[in-house]
């Protein structure tokens, strides 16, 4: 608390010293868009060489620069687009909307060498990776399904537990410590088919940004990372369609103007169709089975004038798996976002957002004496208001707040039909309010030194009705409920709060290199029951409560950033240390599903992680790609687990290397190849056996003391684009391409798990069995756009 106050004071002092000459400033502002589609460009750089100063466009493509009267030469650049340069006489405030032309559209005529792509050097951002959907689409994909989260897993500092899951682990944080935002709405479970694919449809994703450290104060609620995914707004110029037919799914997207250049829409759907073949199969149970998922995205936006815009976007997706009459699981996410952008002046950009987000799953047996139906989930209603104040060339201030109402539905299992013998279990819904307010300044002290400093204050309250159980903890392996405390309807209780300071510093050594340092504290009030090897849709979100303290993390990171060969190659080295408090793990054989005493199964302690990350990236030219290498460790220390000794987390895989290469052999033919290597995940393995009840039972000593074999895999893909231009050189309206890819080219049987079993015919004999998910797997996808 005291630290926080000092911090605010320092911030105010810094600000005052900068605001003296503020009087005569004029504003140059506007939106940066793609010339052919009218899409807002996020993070485009606007730079004035003479002042060695500039800004970047925000999430809505808006930029604003406050400058003294004068004539300026402005350069606007964005990856994959031609640099746009113009001169402006600034004797009054000017609104300048900029339309950027992609390199593709001018590929043969203009020499694109010389465009400055040194945002990574100049920005105070560190530990941030952005991926354009174009880049993601070049990566060879499992079953041909281009996947945002599988691409994220190839970035430095990001780990997986196994290829069966799109869950990811950032800098030693758990899978529930990533805030996944789709147009600002939380996506609670971003997986399809139990984790094989993610919910993000390539045709509607515009931009993907992962923040692993130096997290700005505008974000909160998770310890480890923010994954921000922006949906396209829809083509403002003309009606167009994009789609694809793949091995397991097909997609179709329609977008176009409602009012040209003012309002547009996009709708997109995707569905798998393997289940359509089930009725033709021989097995009578499979005939009656189902296995599919679908996604539906929609968005509209209206620009009333330069000062007022609204965006409405939504996502709806669902998975259904049914095995005959034996079992059914279905689950899905829904998000809805309503945003209102308003410019109070050309210097003050505001955004008001209403968010609804939900995840639920159902499970059951449809018929017979064991028929039941089990529903569980979480939903949020949230209101958010953010302001950006482009004060002058040296200071940009962000402030705002958010309030969220959470509803947790831990589980309601009901009997189905007349034959069912079940009476059912109902775990009451619980409610909570989460608040956050923040203020932050990005300040350029001089040509070399930039600072970002801010603070977030977050708070959390449970909301009745609620039953809080009191546990007798005398046996650490088995807490027993001894009493309970009731809270009334709408009663607020258990106020938890935290100050979360965020600091980042960029010292630019020269035009080509900079060093950066950051510190962030994060607080997390809601948690996921991830007691499984990899996350599953059945994991359950639960709130902090009198028995569960919020998780907290402190992270410091240091990085060196350098560009080579005229900014063609970007390189960075980062190192970090992260300490996490109130980390959650589970007592042995914890019962996490349908258990109203779930909190009695939790054990608390601390964890820490440290690591080193290297990234070399080339984003322009015929040959693009990146090489990332991470060395990192993560340990937990929880008194009741592993006899109180520290142990490796399930995702503690020290070495991790990803190589992603893409080469345009000629304009219409692209080759891509990826290679991934990582140390084997740590596992607990038997050290002895005993006999009981006709079974050979394993006995273990230390948790996660043995590693699985190292994981490595190569994927390769080739994309052929059918004729892009007419004989007269004009681009064709209908464009299409065919992609062939092979997952796991050299057919390595990477261990998904090692299990130990008794052999069927020899009671005393045991052996280890390796389970692996994929052999070499070819796929083919046809994509089109017109």
């Amino acid at each position: 608390m005291q630290k926080a106050v000092i911090f605010i004071l320092i911030s105010i002092i810094c600000l005052q010293s900068e605001t003296r000459a503020d009087v005569a400033l004029l504003t140059l502002s506007g939106y940066i868009k793609d010339a052919s589609t009218g899409e807002d460009l996020i993070g485009a750089s606007v730079y004035i060489d003479d002042l060695k100063s500039g800004t970047v466009s925000n999430m809505y493509g808006f930029y604003s620069l406050s400058l003294p009267k004068g004539t300026y030469h402005i350069k606007v650049s964005y990856l994959g687009y031609q640099t746009f340069e113009y001169d402006v006489d600034l004797f009054e405030s000017v609104t300048k909307n900029i339309q950027m032309v992609t390199n593709d559209q001018v590929i043969n005529e203009v020499n694109v060498v010389g465009e400055k792509k040194d945002q990574n050097i100049k920005s105070i951002e560190m530990s941030v990776n952005t991926l354009q959907i174009k880049t993601i689409m070049k990566i060879p994909a499992l079953m041909g399904e281009v996947d945002v989260l599988r691409s994220i897993q190839m970035l430095p500092g990001v780990k997986t537990v196994g290829e069966g899951s799109v869950g990811f682990y950032v800098r030693g944080g758990g899978v529930d410590q990533n805030l996944i935002l789709l147009d600002e709405a939380t996506v609670y479970n971003a997986s399809h088919l139990g984790g094989l694919f993610s919910v993000f449809n390539q045709d509607v994703v515009k931009d993907v940004k992962l923040i692993k450290g130096g997290i700005p104060a505008s974000y909160g609620g998770r310890l480890s990372s923010i994954l921000e995914i922006a949906m396209k707004d829809g083509n403002k110029k003309k009606l167009s369609m994009t789609g694809g037919i793949g091995l397991i799914s097909s997609r179709l997207t329609i977008e176009g103007p409602i009012i040209k250049d003012k309002a547009s829409f996009i709708i997109s759907g995707r569905r798998t169709y393997i289940d359509l073949f089930f009725p033709f199969l021989k097995d009578s149970v499979i005939k009656k089975s189902k296995a599919f998922f679908y996604d539906f995205n929609a968005k509209v936006n209206f620009q009333f004038n330069d000062n007022n815009r609204i965006f409405i976007s939504g996502y709806f997706g669902h998975d259904v798996m049914q095995i005959g009459d034996a079992m059914r699981i279905d689950y899905g996410n829904q998000t809805f976002t309503l945003r209102y952008n308003h410019l109070f002046s050309k210097k003050i950009f505001s955004n008001l957002t209403f968010i609804y987000s939900m995840f639920d799953y159902g499970m059951g047996v449809p018929n017979g004496s064991q028929a039941f139906d089990w529903q569980s989930g979480i939903n949020d209603i949230s209101l958010k208001n953010d302001y950006s104040w482009f004060l002058n060339t040296k200071n940009t201030i962000h402030f705002g707040g958010q309030i969220t109402h959470h509803t947790f539905q831990p589980g309601n299992a009901k009997p189905v039909g007349n034959e069912s013998v079940f009476t059912g279990i109902y775990l009451p819904d619980s409610y909570a309010l989460e608040y956050g307010i923040f203020a932050e300044n990005e300040q350029r002290l001089n040509d070399k030194l930039s600072l970002g400093y801010g603070i977030r204050f977050s708070a959390f309250q449970n909301l009745g009705p609620y039953t809080n159980y009191i546990y007798d903890k005398s046996n650490p392996m088995d807490y027993k409920v001894v009493d309970s405390l009731e809270y009334r309807h709408n009663e607020l209780f258990n106020l938890q709060n935290g100050f979360e300071p965020r600091i980042s510093i960029n010292y630019q050594l020269n035009l080509k290199s900079s060093i950066k340092l950051s510190y962030n504290r994060m607080v997390q009030y809601i948690h996921l029951t991830t007691n499984t090897m990899s996350s599953t849709p059945l994991d359950l979100w639960f709130p902090s409560s009198p028995n569960v303290k919020p998780e907290k993390a402190d992270q410091i990171a240091f990085g060196y950033f350098r560009n080579f060969l005229n900014d063609t190659y970007e390189a960075s080295i980062e190192t970090y240390y992260k300490k996490m408090y109130n980390s959650i793990d589970y007592v042995d054989h914890a019962e996490v599903l349908l258990n109203k005493y779930l909190e009695g199964e939790l054990r608390f302690g601390s964890s820490y992680s440290y690591g080193f990350e290297f990234l070399l990236k080339k984003q322009t030219g015929k040959f693009t790609g990146w090489l990332s290498y991470t060395y990192s460790r993560v340990f937990r220390e929880i008194p009741e687990i592993n006899n109180g000794n520290k142990y490796s987390a399930n995702y503690d895989k020290p070495h991790d290397l990803s190589l992603i290469l893409s080469y345009d052999l000629f304009e219409r033919l692209n080759f891509s190849i990826t290679w991934i290597y990582s140390s084997g995940a740590p596992r607990t393995m038997p050290t002895e056996r005993f006999e009981y009840g006709g079974m050979i039972v394993p006995l273990y000593s230390d948790r996660n003391a043995v590693r699985l074999p190292a994981y490595h895999r190569m994927d390769a893909g080739i994309t052929y684009s059918f004729s892009k231009t007419k004989p007269n050189g004009q681009p064709k309206k209908f464009q299409s391409s065919l992609n062939l890819s092979v997952y796991n080219v050299y057919n390595r049987h990477n261990a998904y798990s090692i299990t130990f079993n008794q052999i069927e015919n020899d009671f005393y004999k045991t052996e280890a069995t390796k389970t692996f998910l994929f052999k070499a797997f070819p796929s083919i996808t046809y994509n089109f756009h017109f």
Binding site: I286, D588, T687, T769
Partner: protein, 287 residues
């Protein structure tokens, strides 16, 4: 219900995955701990306690039995001594005897080296089953063409919460559920106080009925929560371990004192019989 969940998860993983034998060298913990497997029930019979030791995981032969121990079971009033007549580590009551529901039974062990171990359990009373029946049916799991005799029970579950049950199947007086993986055990969590009718406790593949008439007997036992958790933990660490669903591998609990492994249980028992008449087998495969 959770059975169904584990089986489904295992099944869905098995649909997309492959397995192969894997060679691995494991560290030998070499703790040589005592393992106790024993029970007393309300059935009139000889009751047994088996003593053994832990061994290396890939031992591939029987673990060592513990001989020359002194073992007794007491309910506070009566004490029974158990004798290892065959010198095989299997200690038996010296005569047929029945435990009494409502009493707490304590097992005391003194090893030849002087170490002592004990365990005790309350024998929870049980309501008798009304009846059992059977039904001849095809499996409702995919890729399983077999037909089964589903054996169903009819029983009133009492309104008290926290009851746990186990069932055993005998065909012509021969036990068919002699390993934990074949036993059925449940908690009353989802059926508390309900009339449990037509509940399938065993699925018997049709080729196992090899005579025209077979007498099937279902025995129902009351077990403690600890015994249920113990059985569940054994399955989670063995047959269900590939599901990745049970959390990290953990040692199964024990109710024996002094660091020994295993379990001593006390159960009340009831049983009902029915005749199974063979129908013409429809199963295509026996595997």
């Amino acid at each position: 219900m959770k059975y169904i969940l584990y089986i489904s998860i295992l099944l869905s993983i098995s649909l997309i995955s492959c397995t192969e034998k894997f060679n691995i060298n494991l560290v030998n913990g070499a703790t040589n701990r005592l393992v106790v497997e024993g029970s007393i029930t309300s059935e009139y019979k000889v009751h047994k306690v088996i003593l053994s030791r832990t061994g290396e995981y890939f031992l591939n032969q029987p673990t060592t039995r513990e001989l020359n121990a002194l073992i007794s079971i007491t309910d506070g009033d009566t004490t029974m001594n158990l004798i290892d007549t065959a010198n095989s580590g299997v200690y038996q009551t010296d005569k047929e005897i029945a435990g009494k529901p409502g009493k707490t039974y304590t097992l005391n062990i003194t090893l030849s080296n002087g170490e002592t171990y004990s365990a005790s359990e309350f024998m929870k009373p049980i309501l008798p089953m009304d009846s059992i029946n059977y039904e001849y049916k095809k499996s409702d799991l995919p890729f399983d063409d077999k037909y089964y005799y589903n054996i169903n029970i009819f029983v009133q579950e009492p309104p008290t919460k926290g009851d746990y049950y186990q069932w055993e199947l005998y065909l012509d007086n021969e036990i068919k559920t002699d390993t934990i993986r074949l036993k059925t055990f449940v908690s009353d969590e989802l059926v508390n106080g309900a009339y449990v009718g037509n509940w399938t406790v065993y699925q018997l593949p049709d080729y196992k009925i090899d005579k025209d008439t077979v007498v099937a007997r279902i025995q129902m036992l009351s077990i403690s929560k600890e015994k249920y958790d113990f059985y569940m933990a054994i399955l989670l660490e063995t047959d269900y371990s590939g599901a990745g669903f049970s959390g990290p591998p953990s040692n199964v609990p024990s109710n024996i004192s002094n660091g020994a492994l295993g379990f001593f249980s006390a159960s009340a028992v009831c049983g009902t019989e029915t005749n199974i008449y063979r129908v013409k087998n429809k199963s295509k495969s026996k595997k």
